[in-house]
């Protein structure tokens, strides 16, 4: 019930924020922060609770909380939600970045602040729902809940090309989401024809026998939906537009957590539901990941718009996640999860900086910047930190993620890993050129700019400490998700038709 309470708090908080707009322009923001904090407090007991065991087909898996009640019994749809270490980590990241998003919208949004917070909160609720839903119909519902408010955030509060960007975002996500819906329904029907039982329950659908050809197409529906979200090459082009045009808070949420739902979906659904079919495209998916790494990095280097640069760097970073998921061993999976969390923090911070720059300079065009270190040394130093994190400096979280992905992928496919490693060089090229264009070089005379204020610095320091923590002592995160990944790994490896390929030795 705890999980529903969390989601309801966010939904209700959004609604109250909308209503509160009528009384006071500042109130919605406080309502948002308040409800996120309450939602976070509700999560605290989970960190210390004893896990309960659920059978994933024949494999035991540990869940921190599972709750189920009937919803539409006629179709076997239930309100089944559950949380394990992986979900908990993702939800925690969501709530943390939720606060960051609200903070970054603090002085930026004047138009309809209540409705803005409503959309923000409902997006958050949708994301939390996606991370905990274990009924596939419910999962799809939350997938949509996360999409539509985000559409409004971009379409209403975005920048000059917001209509185009919002529509593009919507179409990409919606079309791929519909493919997933078809796959979900087909999967349920396959199970029904096998067993006579109609159910959307994740646990029941795991490990059911599906003929090889059918399984491949069903898998593809899930795969495309998640890879579009991730985003993987060549489905990435919605992202630069959406990120660039979105208001800062929405960019933070998009980059920080919405992209992670794609990776989460691959880990939680695509591979475990169709281990045999997923192995068939593993090689292909790894290649997509590597292409994304290099392609994203080169395009990031080419950009003149600060936000587009960061957006393409996300394509590059998420390529590591895709590579890691489909190399599918303990090292790469842990690396991918770490990369998701670290990228969430570092990119959210970079988008906040983009917002802070736009707020002060009224442009995102880097050719109109330069020498800003002189004007705003605090911002310069902080930007340096996050760009350095972004290029994979050891000691910070992103490095741990990327290194583990590459180290593990090397066991699976040496050629792909060698090419992926070039990403380490390309990342340095775009990160350092961004620092040069924005903060280094000769300052413009007569520019009066305010350095980051205390609120902004506080949020930034929070994320810096997070990245240092992940970089120097990542073990708590690994321990949290280890049982989850281990059981998924064991389960998929044991599944029929994979010939042990998922356990890493097969290739």
């Amino acid at each position: 019930m705890l999980l529903w309470a969390t989601i309801l708090v966010l939904l209700a908080g959004g609604a109250i924020a909308w209503l509160a707009e009528a009384w006071n322009k500042d109130l919605p923001r406080w309502v948002s922060v308040g409800s996120i904090v309450i939602a976070g407090l509700l999560m605290v007991p989970l960190f210390v609770s004893t896990p309960q065991t659920v059978l994933l087909a024949d494999t035991e898996s540990e869940w921190l909380a599972v709750s189920s009640s009937t919803w539409i019994p006629r179709f076997g749809i239930t309100l089944l939600v559950g949380i394990d270490g992986l979900s908990l980590l993702m939800v925690a990241l969501t709530l943390l970045l939720g606060v960051v998003a609200v903070a970054s919208s603090w002085s930026e949004i004047d138009y309809r602040p209540g409705f803005f917070q409503f959309n923000l909160m409902w997006t958050l609720a949708g994301v939390v729902g996606v991370f905990v839903a274990l009924d596939l119909f419910l999962f799809f519902l939350f997938w949509e809940v996360m999409l539509i408010p985000m559409y409004f955030l971009i379409a209403i509060w975005g920048h000059e090309e917001r209509g185009y960007a919002a529509m593009k975002f919507f179409l990409f996500t919606q079309v791929s989401g519909l493919l997933m819906l078809v796959s979900i329904v087909a999967l349920v029907l396959v199970h029904h024809s096998n067993s006579g039982v109609l159910t959307f329950n994740y646990f029941d659908l795991l490990g059911i026998p599906i003929s090889e050809g059918v399984a491949f197409y069903l898998m593809l529906g899930f795969f495309i939906a998640f890879v579009v979200k991730l985003p993987g090459f060549p489905f990435h082009t919605w992202l630069p537009d959406a990120h660039t045009q979105a208001p800062t808070a929405a960019s933070v949420l998009l980059a920080g957590i919405l992209l992670k739902t794609g990776a989460y979906g691959l880990i939680r659904f695509t591979v475990p539901l169709f281990p045999g079919a997923a192995i068939e495209i593993a090689q292909f998916a790894m290649v997509l990941g590597v292409v994304g790494i290099i392609y994203g990095a080169i395009l990031a280097f080419a950009q003149t718009d600060f936000k587009r640069l960061v957006a393409y760097s996300s394509v590059s970073h998420m390529g590591f996640v895709l590579l890691g998921v489909y190399a599918w061993n303990e090292l790469t999976l842990q690396g991918s999860v770490m990369q998701m969390v670290a990228h969430g923090l570092s990119t959210a911070a970079l988008f906040m900086l983009a917002g802070a720059l736009q707020h002060r300079l009224h442009t995102r065009d880097m050719s109109k910047m330069g020498g800003l270190w002189q004007d705003m040394p605090r911002m310069g130093a902080i930007a340096m930190f996050f760009f350095v994190a972004s290029l994979g400096m050891p000691g910070l979280g992103n490095f741990v993620g990327e290194f583990l992905v590459l180290l593990g992928a090397f066991k699976v496919n040496i050629v792909i890993t060698v090419i992926a490693s070039i990403g380490l060089i390309s990342a340095a090229i775009y990160a350092l050129i961004a620092m040069q264009k924005v903060f280094q070089g000769a300052p413009t005379a007569g520019r009066a700019l305010n350095d980051l204020d205390t609120r902004e610095v506080l949020v930034m320091v929070l994320m810096m400490l997070g990245l240092v923590g992940l970089g120097m002592y990542p073990q708590p995160v690994f321990d949290l998700v280890d049982p989850v990944l281990a059981s998924l790994y064991e389960f998929s490896g044991a599944a029929e038709g994979t010939q042990g390929a998922w356990t890493g030795d097969g290739q």
Partner: protein
């Protein structure tokens, strides 16, 4: 004290943290106290640890703090491994580092970003110490990347000039190319050995592989890739001359005494692996000789005082690589130590000259400075003598050992020796070209008064070290396998000894006495072309620009708008056109609608009938 060895890298890190958090708000004396003091304390601890270790017989000690992480059988620890090699490196880093920090406290005093400078310097020292103390290759890689970052930050310290930024980026990206090779080496070692802890991995390597196996050769060569990047050896040496854009103490500390020798340290640290691969070892020797010659020729024609020193650094590290390549491990490390003394001395001396001449870098606008700047003069004479390996200096002891060991090498030994000897001749010519041009002859630019004590004292101490350093016994005997006995008879040692002296005499006649007239040679068309070729660093920058930079930026530029997007936008456009086409039928004319409806009905009926 050795149980608290973590304090050695931690103290400078704390110094960095303090300076970072206070963000330039502290008064300068406080900044200097934190910046210099933290490194000084580290140096003190290293001295105590060294004393303890020598008393205890220099056996290696492992100090583990905690497991960095533990995933899938990969358990890198945050642990330090202290043996004679690590101790030697620590002594150099904290000792020379401390002197350079003291020097900087005056040299940088007028700079607006005094605090930021010391923050970066402290971070560098900390990272460098982690590099040499690391018990596993991942932690070493952390230090390795950390020093690279600090190098980037300090080369581009004066960020307002875009040229400095470009030099800094070049330094970072070129070394990162090497680092990526090194990372691949780590992946390969982990794949086959299952651990990156250096000592167990090395023992396992020796137990698993035979000499000459393919895997250790590839792994060793990948590590060499990392080493040539960091240590500015062929083919990745192009970043170092540009890196002179940083403040001079940075050049002394990072680009002469410590960071650029990290590659030498890496190879020495993993020498068991290299012993399994004669091929890789020979490659190291070849790289060493080739680099020391290429850089020495370039140093001959440079006019910027710091660039001369930069090329000489590349060249001297070439000697260290040569030593490693022929298995003269201790000699290589010993040259690293003595080079740290005399090259830091030369850079700091150059800094004193530049400081007094208002940032003049061109040696041909200097002259006659020996009376005006006596401490700098003394520094350059002693430093250059050591660099040229003249007898009675530290450089002689270490370089002589390398050249003799090279001669004894079973693989093309005499050729390697000859290359090194030619390099030694060039070294003494270019270093005394500098001395004679800058300190003798007429005064071309009038200097300010010499700098104060905080700059003079480190110079004097380094002068002493550059001479007596040759008498030191570095405690690495237990680390490396026993070296071959050098024969030390016949003409070879005498020739090795004599060549540098001949070089100095030649330099005297060419650049001071002018009895040997080189002008016709230099002015000839061949001489001029060759001079330009050497000055431009054998056109390697030009070449890399064409091969890597231009294509990369070209691809980026033409695809700025992301070609993939045209597919989606194309789909959208086609759809919109079709909509438009469809909407054309909506004319508002009733008779058209009726006609179309009728035609449609007829067609429908016809189809239905046909189907049946």
């Amino acid at each position: 004290m050795i149980d608290h060895i973590y304090l050695v890298p931690l103290l400078p890190l704390v110094g960095f943290a303090l300076l970072f958090i206070t963000a330039g708000q502290l008064p300068r004396p406080w900044v200097a106290a934190i910046g210099v003091g933290s490194v000084g304390l580290s140096a003190l601890i290293v001295l105590i640890v060294g004393y303890e270790m020598l008393l205890a017989g220099a056996s290696p000690v492992v100090i583990s703090l905690y497991n960095w992480f533990s995933v899938g059988g990969f358990v890198p620890g945050l642990s330090f491994y202290v043996d004679g090699l690590a101790l030697t490196m620590m002594l150099v880093i904290t000792g020379v580092g401390f002197l350079i920090h003291v020097y900087s406290s005056l040299f940088m005093y007028e700079d607006a970003d005094y605090s930021r400078f010391f923050a970066y310097m402290n971070l560098f020292v900390s990272a460098m110490l982690v590099l040499v103390l690391a018990d596993n290759l991942l932690l070493l890689y952390l230090g390795w990347e950390g020093v690279g970052l600090c190098s980037y930050l300090l080369v581009g310290f004066w960020y307002q000039d875009p040229a400095n930024g470009a030099a800094a980026r070049k330094a970072f990206v070129v070394t990162r190319v090497g680092d990526t090779f090194m990372a691949l080496g780590l992946f390969l070692l982990f794949l086959h050995l299952g651990t990156l802890d250096i000592q167990p991995a090395m023992q396992l390597a020796s137990a698993t592989w035979q000499s000459g196996d393919v895997i250790p050769t590839i792994a060793a060569l990948l590590l060499v890739g990392g080493a040539v990047g960091k240590s500015a050896q062929l083919p990745l040496q192009t970043w170092l001359p540009d890196a002179m854009a940083g403040p001079t103490p940075v050049s002394a500390l990072i680009h002469a005494a410590t960071m650029v020798t990290a590659g030498v340290y890496l190879i020495a640290r993993t020498h068991e692996l290299f012993l399994l691969s004669p091929t890789a070892q020979f490659v190291v020797a070849i790289i060493g000789v080739a680099t020391l010659l290429v850089a020495a020729f370039s140093a001959l024609v440079q006019t910027d005082i710091k660039r001369i020193l930069a090329f000489s650094t590349i060249s001297q590290i070439g000697y260290m690589f040569l030593a490693l390549g022929v298995g003269a491990w201790s000699a290589g490390i010993f040259h690293l130590v003595t080079h740290a003394f005399f090259k830091a001395l030369l850079f700091l001396g150059a800094g004193a000259v530049i400081y007094s001449l208002h940032h003049e870098h061109n040696i041909f606008r200097m002259g006659g400075l020996r009376r005006r700047l006596p401490v700098a003069f003394l520094s350059f004479v002693i430093g250059s003598a050591a660099l040229a390996a003249l007898p009675l200096t530290s450089g002689f002891v270490s370089k002589d050992a390398i050249l003799l060991a090279a001669f004894e090498s079973p693989h093309a030994g005499p050729a390697l020796w000859l290359g090194g000897l030619l390099g030694a001749l060039l070294t003494s010519i270019y270093s005394f070209r500098l001395v004679f041009t800058v300190f003798f002859g007429p005064v071309r630019t009038e200097p300010d008064a010499p700098a104060g004590l905080p700059m003079a004292i480190p110079l004097v101490i380094l002068c002493v070290l550059s001479i007596v350093g040759g008498l030191f016994q570095i405690p690495v005997d237990a680390v490396f396998p026993e070296a071959r006995e050098s024969l030390h008879e016949g003409a070879i040692p005498i020739v090795t000894l004599a060549v540098p002296i001949i070089g100095v005499i030649l330099a005297y006649f060419m650049f001071l006495d002018q009895r040997i007239r080189i002008a016709p040679l230099v002015e000839s068309s061949v001489g001029r072309a060759l001079g330009r070729f050497w000055l431009s660093h054998w056109a390697m920058d030009w070449l890399y620009d064409r091969i890597f930079v231009v294509p990369y930026t070209f691809v980026a530029r033409i695809n700025q708008a992301d070609v993939v997007d045209t597919v989606y936008n194309g789909t959208a456009t086609i759809t919109r056109r079709l909509h438009h086409l469809a909407s054309l039928t909506q004319t508002g004319q009733l008779r058209r609608y009726v006609t179309m409806m009728t035609v449609g009905l007829i067609l429908l009926v016809a189809i239905l009938l046909g189907v049946r």
